[in-house]
């Protein structure tokens, strides 16, 4: 779990000259994060997003994720499961949409045959 803290340098990378300073600031950040707990998480996360918007890398090479909570870290993609989902999903969508349209057409035909035609000619 890591996030670019506003107290650190912009990129979050540790350069040799700034290493000791950043280390102290990181400790301070951690303490601050624990103190502020949940309410502060949005602030730190927004800082991460802002860093990304500036075109800077969000994930340094030695880190796997910038997510603040564990639950926010994306699951690994299982190709087999993905293939199965992609095989079934269009079929399910077609069945759902087909059923809806079929009901609509049946309603139209029922009114056409049982109401409209018996009412006779007009023109």
């Amino acid at each position: 779990m890591h996030c670019t803290c506003p107290l650190l340098t912009h990129s979050g990378h540790r350069t040799p000259t700034r290493n000791s300073v950043n280390s102290k600031r990181e400790t301070l950040c951690s303490a601050l994060q624990k103190e502020l707990a949940f309410s502060a998480s949005d602030f730190f996360r927004s800082s991460c997003i802002a860093g990304t918007r500036r075109g800077e890398p969000m994930n340094p090479s030695d880190q796997s994720s910038d997510a603040y909570h564990q639950s926010e870290i994306a699951d690994e993609i299982d190709e087999a499961a993905l293939a199965e989902v992609m095989r079934v999903t269009p079929l399910g969508a077609a069945v759902l949409a087909g059923t809806a349209v079929a009901l609509l057409v049946l309603g139209y035909l029922a009114i056409y045959l049982m109401v409209f035609l018996p009412r006779g000619t007009v023109g």
Binding site: E79, L82, A83, M86, R87, P90, L91, A93, A94, A97, G98, V101, V105, Y108, Y112, F116, L117, R119, G120, T121, V122, G123
Partner: protein, 185 residues
């Protein structure tokens, strides 16, 4: 060269979308076919007539003068009904029509836009001042039908309605002047 899984997925989705587009095309074609079939085989069409009238002199002279309103049977046996839709009544308030014969309904308005329908039939049209609304139809059930105004025309709109009296052919007998009224029954 073997396709990557992502390409296979995209092809599958594209295939589904094309199939759906084909199905929708078939449905649209079927709906249009039903409309054309109905028009040709059952003679059911939207009423269409462009014929001008002068709202200022509508009730004074011409086809819609007072003495000419109501049901008339022509020398050729054609039944024509002329009605004025005005705020807030139809004139006349009751019209007699034969059962099982073609009837031509002609409407005109001297004031504002009105509309009408005849319950239990497909008769449904607007009556716009300055134009004659014309509907051809055939009444198949012998009963009294309600003909309300269905276009809001003012405070008395809800009171604007008339009765269509559908008569069996043996009771539908025109007088010497070729006119038929509801009082005959």
């Amino acid at each position: 060269m073997t396709d990557r899984p992502a390409e296979i997925h995209e092809k599958r989705i594209l295939g589904t979308e094309l199939l759906w587009a084909f199905g929708v095309g078939v449905l649209v074609a079927a709906t249009l076919s039903v409309i054309v079939f109905t028009a040709l085989s059952r003679d059911i069409n939207p009423p269409s007539n462009v014929e001008r009238s002068d709202p200022k002199t509508l009730h004074l002279s011409g086809e819609f003068a007072e003495h000419n309103l109501g049901t008339t049977v022509g020398p050729d046996g054609r039944v024509t009904v002329r009605i004025i839709a005005t705020q807030f009544m139809f004139v006349p308030r009751c019209i007699a029509v034969p059962r099982g014969r073609e009837v031509t309904l002609r409407f005109a308005s001297p004031d504002v836009v009105h509309g009408l329908l005849i319950t239990g039939t497909n008769v449904n049209t607007m009556v716009v001042p300055g134009f004659v609304a014309q509907v051809h139809t055939e009444f198949t059930r012998g009963e009294d039908l309600l003909m309300p105004c269905h276009e809001y025309c003012g405070l008395g709109h809800s009171e604007m309605w008339a009765t269509v009296q559908v008569m069996p052919d043996d009771q539908f007998k025109p007088g010497p002047d070729g006119r038929v009224s509801c009082a005959q029954r």
